[in-house]
């Protein structure tokens, strides 16, 4: 009976993160595919791959912070690709979608602020751009100070 319990518990633990693990794998694969497409100059295709990633349902087992990190990173990349394609309005939408997931003091929010600032700037919205750059600077400088003094977690 003891062996049955050991197997049951091991199986349950192994099965707990199944869907979450698959989601993480698929997200990493999407970025690898996007890398390849960008190297080939196929930015539009790369954007489609990343759009598919952000529109995929996220398993409930994924912790909220990890979910936000993965999605904000993907949105930042989408915004960057849209800016390279000279589509600042689209870049703005991606940056807004990313920041809409919540803003904490980390590199993902800082990147999104920078990219949104760049999109505003391209659209001639200088005041909004300045606000985003300032917010990005505050976060990045605080994180830099922490990193230089040996701290920092995210």
């Amino acid at each position: 009976m003891k062996a049955a319990w050991v197997w049951l518990v091991a199986g349950a633990l192994a099965g707990c993160g199944g869907r979450a693990a698959r989601w993480v794998e698929e997200a990493a694969d999407a970025h690898a595919q996007a890398d390849l497409l960008v190297r080939r100059g196929e930015r539009e295709q790369a954007s489609r791959v990343l759009e598919e990633l952000v529109s995929r349902p996220v398993p409930a087992q994924v912790a909220a912070q990890d979910r936000r990190a993965v999605l904000q990173d993907a949105y930042a990349r989408l915004a960057g690709l849209a800016l390279e394609e000279r589509r600042p309005s689209q870049a703005l939408r991606y940056a807004d979608a990313g920041l809409g997931l919540g803003e904490t003091r980390d590199v993902f929010a800082s990147s999104l602020r920078t990219l949104r600032g760049r999109a505003h700037e391209a659209l001639g919205q200088d005041a909004e751009a300045a606000r985003d750059y300032e917010a990005a600077q505050i976060v990045a400088e605080a994180l830099l100070q922490e990193a230089l003094s040996g701290g920092g977690a995210r």
Binding site: M1, K2, A3, A4, W5, L8, V9, G11, A12, A14, G15, C16, G17, G18, R19, A20, A21, R22, V24, E25, A27, A28, H31, A60, Q61, V62, A63, A64, Q65, D66, A69, V70, D73, A76, R77, G80, L83, D106, V107, S110, S111, T114, G117, R118, E121, A130, D132, E134, A136, Q137, V139, A140, E141, L143, L144, A147, G151, G152, A153, R154
Partner: protein
Amino acid sequence: MTSEERPPTEAEAREADLLAHALEDPARPGRDVAAVDDALGTAWLLRASKSAELSELRARAVLKRAWPGRPRWLNPTPGAMAALGAAAAVAAILSLLPRGPAKLPPPPVPLLRAQVAAARPGAQRALAPLEAEMDAHRERLYGALARAYGTRR
């Protein structure tokens, strides 16, 4: 006309009748079945082979003999079955609950410097180093997530 097609003789009919009665009512005392002894034995053997099923006790004995070291947990009691069911339900519920966050890698100094440099008006060229640093950080990010969520990589 062959011997099989010929009608039975009186003696044969008597023996058949005797055999039928002996099979229907074997316990009747005083009956002389010596004449049909061989036929009766064959009939009993046939009947026994038709009803030759293993009783539960006999099945257990056969199983015990065939697999003497069979572990006890392969004969689960109702209590054990209920416990297994409860454990399966708990496992199913656990699998739906969100986990604690992964320990993500801290952003390295070059990435943060690139972010500070890029967050300025007109710094178009500063985006390329930021992207390169973010690509490297992404590798570390997914490495940490893979460790936390147990991917097969």
